[in-house]
Symmetry: C2
Subunit: 188 residues, 2 copies
């Protein structure tokens, strides 16, 4: 019998990012997703990547995500795909751009890989904010995949605002600590 796709968030997630959390500023939102990435490594619950979707104006957390590739055996369980998928389930809408829904943004600790980049237009978020750069992730052995060279422009042409490299130094430091920790680096 075929299994259903089932990917859980780690049990500690609600300590760091509980439902109904309000996070006011973009700096605090980025620091939260970097904290998710770090905690995911410390707890040995996945790779060094965190993401979250917020209502842009109110700062309400719609869904968090962390990388769950190795614990779930599912290569698509990147932090951004987790946040996007859980946001859909939590809101009961396959797009966050449905009529009457407040504008939402995806905040992610690292520049999205090719898959997560490609998922962003389907999510309905109106804004992407990323921290560490692709070079930071690649420097410790992660592969960002084949994104279009003009990926920022591709999103902006679809009405999605992009802020890349936001607090990149802090976000990159988390990745470098992971690289120096001798942890497993898989594809993605």
């Amino acid at each position: 019998m075929w299994q259903s796709v089932q990917i859980s968030l780690p049990p500690w997630i609600e300590d760091v990012a509980p439902p109904e959390l309000i996070v006011d500023t973009l700096e605090e939102r980025m620091r939260l997703v970097v904290q998710l990435a770090n905690r995911n490594v410390e707890a040995e619950t996945g790779g060094p990547f965190g993401a979250a979707i917020f209502e842009t104006e109110s700062g309400r957390l719609i869904a968090p995500g962390v990388n769950r590739v190795v614990p779930s055996n599912i290569p698509t369980a990147h932090a951004e795909v987790m946040a996007i998928s859980i946001a859909g389930q939590m809101t009961g809408s396959f797009t966050l751009a449905a009529e009457g829904m407040p504008a939402a943004e995806l905040v992610t600790s690292s520049e999205p890989c090719s898959m997560c980049f490609g998922a962003i237009p389907w999510s309905g978020v109106r804004k992407l904010v990323s921290g560490a750069t692709a070079e930071d992730a690649e420097a410790i052995g992660f592969d960002e995949g084949p994104k279009p060279e003009n990926w920022i422009q591709c999103l902006e042409e679809r009405g999605i605002e992009v802020v890349a490299g936001f607090l990149a130094e802090e976000a990159g430091a988390a990745l470098r600590a992971y690289g120096e920790g001798g942890y497993e680096v898989y594809n993605g």
Copy 2:
């Protein structure tokens, strides 16, 4: 409390694509995924897209997938992502290219969108075979997303063989029938 990501295959899937099914030729593999797409529409269990991962040499079905975006409220639940995710769970490996695993191929009823394209390198499949073209999908209102123009070359440079437009006429006919049926066309 945050939900887990949970996406089921439709209940009829094992009638068409049971575990341990062996499908010998590439033509039969493509016809199977087109049948998955058609059945998904008839049963009103998702969009007109089917996919499956096979062991290339033996023809053993590793995992099927169909589009489940609307029933699950999850925008990432495309047929290819479903097949890749279920293959990971069923094999207990986050990559089908792990040592000792037989070469696997992804067969999909339509050219992959930007997200599914980006997921293919992480899946570990060594070959992609797609049926209907992006133009077929776009002609009935689906959006393929921002893939690199040289997307086939991008995969081939990573050692993934690509056969695009295989039985495109048959696979495209299924999409056109969907377009003419007045069904919902969402983003993706």
